[in-house]
């Protein structure tokens, strides 16, 4: 499977009467955007705002972050089984608007979502302080149940991203990158003596606000399976997960998975990037047994030499991560696992909820309990009154001078477990 990825660099976003993209500037009509969102009668009202890197702006509570893309050639469309009809994506030609994101915010539940600071110390801990953010804050109709409101906001975010992406359909990309995954036999012939490597991605899958969808299917319900990595570039995997802001994977991370990117960079040179394997992190222990057995079985059947395993979330998935690592290594396939840590505010507690000698190669995204002071910023997009309910924030979070004393947990993407950032710990 071969995909040409066209990058169109956006250097500014402005509201305007008519939506279009002209020499790197996204002009977007608020009315048109509102119409797209309010197609869903479960949403009463919506407001849009723009946050730019360096501005004294805080976005919170953040639900999801999405990159606008459009499929210009090949089967299917963006977010198959969610927005576009079900079809196998990941081939042909797709354009992505780089340097910007659609950010959804809004009261789903009164806690847990994250913070994006566009400036100050907080900006160092989130990738989304570097993007031009088109922020959507949606309000539910009276009495709407959380389940329905979460789904409504999630789908509205994707619709907005698709609407913005469509504006680029006729443009010429500033840069094109080609990604190709050979079939098994092709790969063997092309790279007979390169190590066969795959990416095992564990998807958060535990319940409301903890879910991930693959071609629209709830990851709790899947058996581990294989994908062409380029399928994720057309939105085959989307986030319904908005808890533990620091180590959940927003849809943006699924679209721009760094492990996929960095394995492709070595593909054909030092390794043969065979495929992506996806598995889940269920609550029921027997499900964990089945999924980790199945994942190890797939690694064996594909005659892999090595895998990179990334997890998503806190505590519960540590157990799946160690199970996957142990069982894959037992099949003679070498592993490197990526995680983050909860070592307490003083850094002295046991970082992971599980451990095993087989996990001798670990990359860490840092200690999510570390405390940071976020200065008062001029503008808040979303609502601030939930901030001390956000994970890692405590009663004395909002300090007299308006600054926030919080743990990295509350910052969206701070200790991302796909290795999206450079933060680490020792």
């Amino acid at each position: 499977m071969r995909l040409e990825m066209g990058h169109i660099y956006i250097r500014d976003i402005q509201f305007a009467a008519e939506s279009k993209i002209a020499d790197g500037v996204l002009y977007v009509s608020e009315e048109a955007l509102k119409a797209v969102v309010l197609e869903d009668e479960k949403l009463k009202s919506v407001s849009f705002d723009i946050a730019k890197p360096g501005e004294s702006v805080r976005i919170t509570p953040v639900k999801d972050v999405i990159e606008p893309r459009v499929k210009v050639e090949g089967r299917g469309g963006q977010f198959p089984g969610v927005i576009a009809k079900v079809d196998t994506v990941g081939e042909g030609k797709t354009y992505a608007l780089k340097g910007m994101a659609v950010v959804t915010a809004g009261k789903i539940v009164g806690f847990q979502e994250g913070i994006i600071d566009m400036t100050g110390p907080g900006a160092d801990y989130t990738p989304f302080s570097q993007t031009l953010n088109l922020v959507m804050v949606a309000e539910p109709v009276e009495g709407l149940k959380q389940h329905d409101y979460e789904a409504a906001v999630r789908f509205a975010g994707f619709r907005v991203a698709v609407y913005v992406g469509e504006l680029a359909r006729e443009l010429t990309p500033d840069e094109v990158k080609v990604y190709e995954t050979p079939t098994m036999m092709e790969g063997l012939k092309l790279y007979p003596d390169l190590p066969r490597v795959a990416y095992v991605q564990m998807l958060q899958s535990q319940g409301l606000l903890h879910d991930t969808y693959v071609y629209g299917v709830d990851a709790k319900k899947i058996l581990p399976t294989i994908l062409n990595p380029t399928e994720t570039m057309d939105g085959a995997i989307v986030s319904g997960n908005c808890v533990s802001a620091c180590d959940k994977n927003p849809t943006y991370v699924h679209q721009n998975n760094p492990v996929v990117e960095d394995l492709f960079a070595q593909h054909g040179k030092t390794l043969n990037f065979v495929c992506q394997i996806i598995t889940n992190e269920n609550v029921y222990l027997a499900d964990k047994m089945r999924s980790s057995d199945w994942t190890a079985k797939i690694c064996k059947m594909l005659d892999l030499d090595g895998v990179i395993v990334s997890q998503e979330g806190f505590g519960n998935p540590d157990t799946d991560l160690i199970m996957n690592c142990k069982k894959i290594e037992a099949e003679g396939v070498k592993t490197v696992i990526i995680t983050d840590e909860y070592a307490g505010r003083d850094g002295k507690s046991q970082s992971l909820a599980d451990a095993d000698v087989a996990a001798n190669a670990v990359v860490t995204g840092g200690n999510a309990n570390e405390v940071v002071i976020l200065p008062k910023l001029d503008k808040v997009i979303g609502t601030l009154d939930y901030v001390n309910k956000i994970a890692g924030a405590s009663e004395d979070t909002l300090r007299p001078d308006g600054s926030l004393e919080v743990e990295l947990q509350v910052i969206t993407g701070a200790t991302n477990e796909t290795g999206f950032l450079k933060l680490s710990a020792r």
Binding site: V109, G110, F111, Q112, Q146, H147, Q204, Q206, G207, L208, L209, H210, K220, N241, V243, S244, D247, K248, N282, V283, Y284, L285, A286, D287, K288, M289, R290, G313, F314, G315, N316, D318, T319, I322, M323, K326, K327, Y342, A343, G344, R345, S349, Q350, A353, D354, A355, D356, N369, N388, K389, A391, G392, A393, S394, E395, Q409
Partner: protein, 143 residues
């Protein structure tokens, strides 16, 4: 220290029925309310850490832990609510070792997070309810 347990054999060995007899141990009123018609629910007015310790005592006395005590990325103490599935059957030694490590680690993890009061009790109850519901669906599926 992760010992590989064999839950599947556990279910088949006993009385042949694939369905494993279990009950829901919880301090969450919503779970008690919504699930007690067609499931055995043991509701106890305890804190997050105390309900984990209650589960531990039941494991010590020969019952099985069927769900992960740190389920949900909502952190211990940040949510006051926790529900767990407890199996009536005696676990194998490997399963006992594996689940004891899980429950002890979860209890130890409580110290890492600050309690947050329960201004959002309704939301925390809902999250905990959906987490255990997903486990109940797996359990009722037959293994």
């Amino acid at each position: 220290m992760c010992i590989v347990p064999f839950f599947i054999t556990l279910a088949q060995e006993r009385n042949g029925a694939m369905r494993e007899k279990y009950y829901i141990l919880t301090n969450n009123p919503m779970v008690a309310g919504k699930l007690s018609e067609d499931h055995k629910v043991v509701f106890m007015e305890l804190s997050f850490e105390e309900i984990l310790k209650e589960a531990r005592s039941r494991i010590h006395s020969g019952q099985s832990l069927l769900t992960h005590p740190l389920s949900g990325s909502v952190k211990p103490n940040e949510t006051p609510y926790k529900s767990l599935l407890i199996g009536e059957a005696k676990p194998t030694t490997e399963e006992l070792a594996f689940t004891l490590e899980l429950i002890e680690t979860a209890i130890a993890a409580c110290g890492k997070f600050r309690a947050k009061g329960d201004k959002y009790a309704q939301d925390f109850q809902l999250i905990d309810y959906t987490l255990i519901k997903s486990a109940v669906e797996s359990a009722d599926m037959g293994i």
